[in-house]
Amino acid sequence: MKPRLLPEQVAARAALELKDGDYVNLGVGIPNLCASHLPAGIQVAFHAEHGVLGYGPLLPESEWGRADFDYVDAGLRFFRPRPGMAFCDMGQSFDMIRGRHLDATILGAVEVSGAGDLANWTFGVPESGGIGGSMDLAVGAKRVIIAMEHVTKQGKPKIVRHCKYPLTAKACVDLIVSDLAVIEVGADGLLLKEVAPGWTAEEVQALTEPRLVLDSNLKEIQV
């Protein structure tokens, strides 16, 4: 099988979408890796749903002796305090999200449709997991970027005509960064902007349900 981007590379490509000074919320999985793969010279303030803004890098396991349970991210992982961080209550935290104050969110996905619908909160029945803050983020962030693997473990497309799984939000996705491609979701459908090194547009299309429009300036992903 042809090599695809590694999760770190997907994260690094997604992180290229961020700008200096942005306020950003990262979902679990590949999105979380973006924090360690920011482009050189930019500072980003990360937002955690329960009310943390601008927290520092995660504590490596070797430093958990100094860990503080009140300094954890949305996934309960310890972070280092960082100068300039701020705490707020969870209501205010979601006011920021819903009120379109976050510059971007980078989320994982179970499925994304050609219209930019997103399903990312359960593989099955509602009680088996949870919505968490995903619906709020998908609707509220100024920019919704998906960072994910292009296909399922079984090799099935995750970019589909219509989502089968319960939706997180309709028509919310702006950009998909996968291990095969960078795809913009526009009014006219999906625009293929970049492909992974060694991959052709046709090969990406074969693993994508909706038709991809080729960008006139189609490029190889630089990572």
Partner: protein, 255 residues
């Protein structure tokens, strides 16, 4: 109304009846009123309506900290659950709460984190309902009025939430019930404190009136009915947290 300082957690919840509703925040160890939850578990109160963000145990990495008391441990006391995160199957483990939901013993009202916080805020702030842009086209639409507003967007009408009791975890209190929080332990505690008929707060320290900076108080005493200090080795105390970490690290080294 005056804030009362209680000496035990049992005393602080002695009038908590079966069938009452409870709001409680939990972000693992952080922001969780573990001692009050434990007292309620010991009391054996039944048929709770539980309003909480996540029904998950505390964990570090992939290790569950089973001796941290969270709403996860109270499944068999809950008749109705309002939450953004009821289950654990997505992590490969069916939780007791999830099982009760499947068996029809606990009714589930699923919400998103943000709308849960906002509904609680509405309850505390005397708002009759609000139009939310979150959840359009998803299953949380069910049973809700959908409406196109002037800005051309669709919204769902969401209703306020209040509860009989609110269990609050704060860092410090003064004797008037003014509260400050620590780090992410703030969470939904301040919002919940506004929306419950009886608000009981457990805190690391109770200081004299005047010792808290009036510009930095997060929950004013007007919202707080009862205060209890967490004992030195109580659940969630500095010592208890240290022990949890040490034990966890020792386990890590063994494995």
């Amino acid at each position: 109304m005056k804030t009362r300082i209680c000496t035990t957690f049992e005393e602080a919840i002695e009038d908590f009846p079966d069938g009452a509703s409870l709001m409680v925040f939990c972000w693992g160890v952080s922001g969780t009123p573990q001692n009050l939850l434990q007292a309620l578990r010991n009391k054996g109160t039944q048929d709770l309506t539980l309003i909480t963000h996540n029904v998950m145990p505390a964990f570090v990495g992939k290790t569950v900290l089973w001796d941290v008391v969270t709403p996860f441990m109270m499944a068999d006391q809950v008749k109705k659950l309002i939450t953004a995160w009821p289950g654990m199957s997505y992590l490969g483990m069916e939780s007791p709460m999830e099982r009760r939901i499947r068996e029809g013993k606990t009714a589930l009202e699923l919400v998103s984190h943000g709308i849960l916080a906002e509904r609680i805020r509405a309850g505390g702030a005397g708002i009759g309902g609000f139009y939310s842009p979150v959840g359009i086209g998803t299953l949380v639409e069910q049973g809700k009025e959908k409406r196109l507003l002037d800005d051309g967007r669709e919204y769902l009408l969401e209703k306020p939430l209040t509860a009989d009791f609110g269990f609050i975890r704060a860092h410090r209190a003064d004797k008037l019930g003014n509260l400050v929080y620590r780090g992410g332990g703030r969470g939904c505690n301040p919002v919940m404190a506004t929306a419950c008929r009886t608000v009981v707060a457990e805190v690391d320290e109770i200081v004299e009136v005047g010792e808290l900076d009036p510009d930095a108080i997060i929950t004013p005493g007007i919202y707080v009915d009862r205060l209890v200090r967490v004992p030195e080795a109580g659940l969630g105390s500095a010592r208890n947290r240290k022990e949890l970490l040490a034990r966890f690290q020792a386990q890590g080294k063994k494995s």
